[in-house]
Symmetry: C2
Subunit: 196 residues, 2 copies
């Protein structure tokens, strides 16, 4: 399936993801740069690795091999200091099993609640060599879930630059002011528009 | 590095693993079948997948491609019912980050403590097609850590067939009477000795 966001004329970037929320965030940010985002649903394998950059690199290589297009993928994780970086690269699996409630239980009576979200975008094409773009946002794990926007661990993460609200209490536009993914997307978009 | 267990004459099976504890358990079980176990340290990639059989299959294919030998790999996980199967395929990462203490905290005040260990051995050679062998052991998550044998989550798992002791309170020989890995290894060994 290919879904292209409506951008009348100009550049298109192909985003391989199975996550409609990520697509929505990418579409908003790339539109600022007059780049339309095309959602490509290709089964790209993900490796196990403690470093999300390695996961993103392997995925984009696999996806380009399968569909021979210039493509970007994104990998991200929530890294909690007091839990030695858990859930990190496996945030999606952890969300699907123990969820936000599991994280809050692990963080019960833990004072040091520092955490960060880290996003890596990897771009590759059949002709171009691979490039990565990073984004990070520091914050704290909240004491309880708040809000119902966004996805994943957004209801329990309060970014340092807006410490009274979780990501899930923000609109996509607001979240994109702070978020790890938006930062990585902007770095990618700047390079992409200056290159193609 | 190749380390071969001392078995004077007979068959050898090459085990690709970075885990010395798994090697030790395999060596004991395969010796029952007069098969010597050779530890091969090859960097075989692991994919992310909710099904450990798929992880083992991809690993063994990758390892055979790299070293062109008949090889087996093993993937295993602890699946806790009340946590929707968590930590499952990511047991090793979860052990390294939140550890047994994290699992016990997640299970605090949880009455339903059923869990199982699942092991998959995947064998492949440059000539043979891929085969998988499974082992499973049901049990319960203990209320506290007990014992210091074994590795990983052994100190918090009590197998149903010996419900008063955790795996970490058993010797390798005792654990091999019940364990998921030993079951999978015996199925593999029976097939291997009847085939080669």
């Amino acid at each position: 399936m290919t879904r292209v966001s409506s951008f009348p004329k100009g550049r298109v970037a192909f985003f391989v993801t199975g996550n409609i929320h990520k697509f929505k965030e990418a579409r908003h940010v790339l539109a600022e740069y007059k780049v339309a985002t095309a959602l490509l649903r290709v089964k790209a394998s993900e490796i196990q690795d403690d470093d999300i950059e390695n996961i993103a690199k392997a995925s984009v290589r696999d996806a380009v091999e399968r569909c021979r297009l210039p493509i970007f993928v994104e990998d991200a994780g929530l890294f909690i200091d007091a839990l030695n970086g858990f859930p990190g690269p496996y945030s999606s699996y952890v969300y699907r099993t123990i969820g936000t409630k599991g994280i809050l239980k692990l963080m019960k009576e833990v004072e040091k609640r520092d955490a960060y979200f880290h996003s890596v975008i990897a771009f590759c094409s059949p002709k171009e060599s691979l490039r990565c773009f990073h984004g990070k946002v520091k914050g704290k794990i909240s004491q309880e879930e708040r809000g119902n926007s966004g996805f994943g661990f957004d209801p329990i993460f309060k970014p340092s630059d807006s410490p009274n609200r979780t990501f899930a209490e923000m609109t996509t536009e607001e979240k994109n002011k702070f978020s790890h993914r938006a930062q990585a997307l902007r770095k990618f978009a700047e390079w992409y528009t200056s290159t193609f």
